[in-house]
């Protein structure tokens, strides 16, 4: 998180973002107090967590739940709350 911040001379004027999709570079994982963790055995890959995650932090591979993007997950706990089989636990960081 300690990347060197740019001076006023180095950034586009007017607060414009001139690079598409660079929100990914903004790491928000450190905001988290509780971390979601998945119980692999219980998960039925319904992907409700993927639908509900407000920060696109549920990874999906081959149509299956593939863990969390901890660089962007803010630990809101919506995934744990919405999970129909309660396979996600929120663990204190």
């Amino acid at each position: 998180m300690a990347e060197k911040k740019k001076s006023w001379k180095e950034i586009p004027i007017g607060g414009k973002i001139t690079e598409a999709g660079n929100a990914e570079q903004y790491k928000t994982g450190s905001w988290r107090t509780f971390r979601p963790e998945k119980n692999e055995k219980k998960c039925i890959n319904c992907l409700f967590c993927w639908i509900y995650c407000p920060d696109s932090s549920i990874k999906v591979k081959d149509s299956k739940m593939d863990g969390f993007d901890y660089e962007h997950c803010k630990g809101c706990g919506i995934c744990a709350s919405i999970c129909p089989v309660k396979c996600i636990d929120m663990v204190k960081e």
Partner: protein, 395 residues
Amino acid sequence: MAKSKMIPFTGDQAVAYAMKQIEPDVVAAYPITPQTEIVMNFSNYVANGQVQTEMIPVESEHSAMSACVGAAAAGARTMTATSANGLALMWEIVYIAASTRLPMVMPVVNRALSGPINIHCDHSDTMGARDSGWIQIYCENAQEVYENTILAVRIAEHKKILLPVMVCQDGFITSHGVEGVALLDDKKVKDFIGEYNIENPLLDVDNPVTYGPLDLQDYYFEHKRQQSEAMKNALIAIPEVLNEFEKTFGTKYEFIEKYKLDDAEVAIVAMSSTAGTVKFVVDELRQKGIKAGLLRPRIFRPFPKEKIVQALKNIKAVAILDRSESFSAEGGPLYTEIKSGLYDSDIKPLVTNYIYGLGGRDIFPEDIKKVYKDLEEILSKKKVINPLNYLGSRE
């Protein structure tokens, strides 16, 4: 002279005509007295097919400025116009236009801000917006409003500036008074303003950009710093545009206008149409041997401190006339800014302030003569007794 013909125009008609010649891509505006005739006349040009401008009739000034921000970000040359309470309703977006660095032009017909409600001239509307990040030009007459509306396009779009510009004229006095206006040639105006090319327009779908994202503790300050630097750049870049205008059209505009000031002992500082009345009185006083002069700041933002201080350096007593009250209990905005500018100067004239003409209260030559008489008295006593005066208000 490139001026083709003289036409009887009100200030509002002059602005509408300038807009016709500029032919912006988008105009989003809401009518309000005394700016109404600008929107009305320009709408006629649109309805008659004389311009190809996309005219957006909005439901409020807040929407007008919002539509302008969107249009300007999309890459359109954009204009609007307003007065008083309309400007007040735009407020939120006025700041956003400047901070997003969108170079639009907004003629403002100066009118008293409510309340109590009043439709006549004073500068409380634009003076309130003096810290919004817009460039502000104050015009004395219809000719100046006409030419400066055209000039403003180039100033706003200058690569080193990229800030929106207000072109101010006095409500009713200038906006509705008919004067002869020498018109500029259509093609020359088009050539002078040139094509509008913004960097990173929203409509460039091959190079997607984001306008107006959240900007918190880590970068907001840097963006504000950029705005400060743009205003400083404007002090240097505006003369380039003014010089080019003079070369093309023959009229020389500067940050300030000096009228019989160089050898003056007493001087009035006044903006917009009142300067005309002051010039009339200066001529009279000069015939009587009184060394009176006038300084008229034309551009208030950026504040041309060096030029003003330089112009006042030989003056012994100066009266600064403010057509708005800042309620700082320390005088009007023009007064406080000039006084703060003089702090750095080695030579400090005796300075006094007159708030005048609020809500359209007429300012007569007799009022101006009284100010010069007060200045003579200040000069003889070598001291300012009343720094804050209310010219024309009943005691």
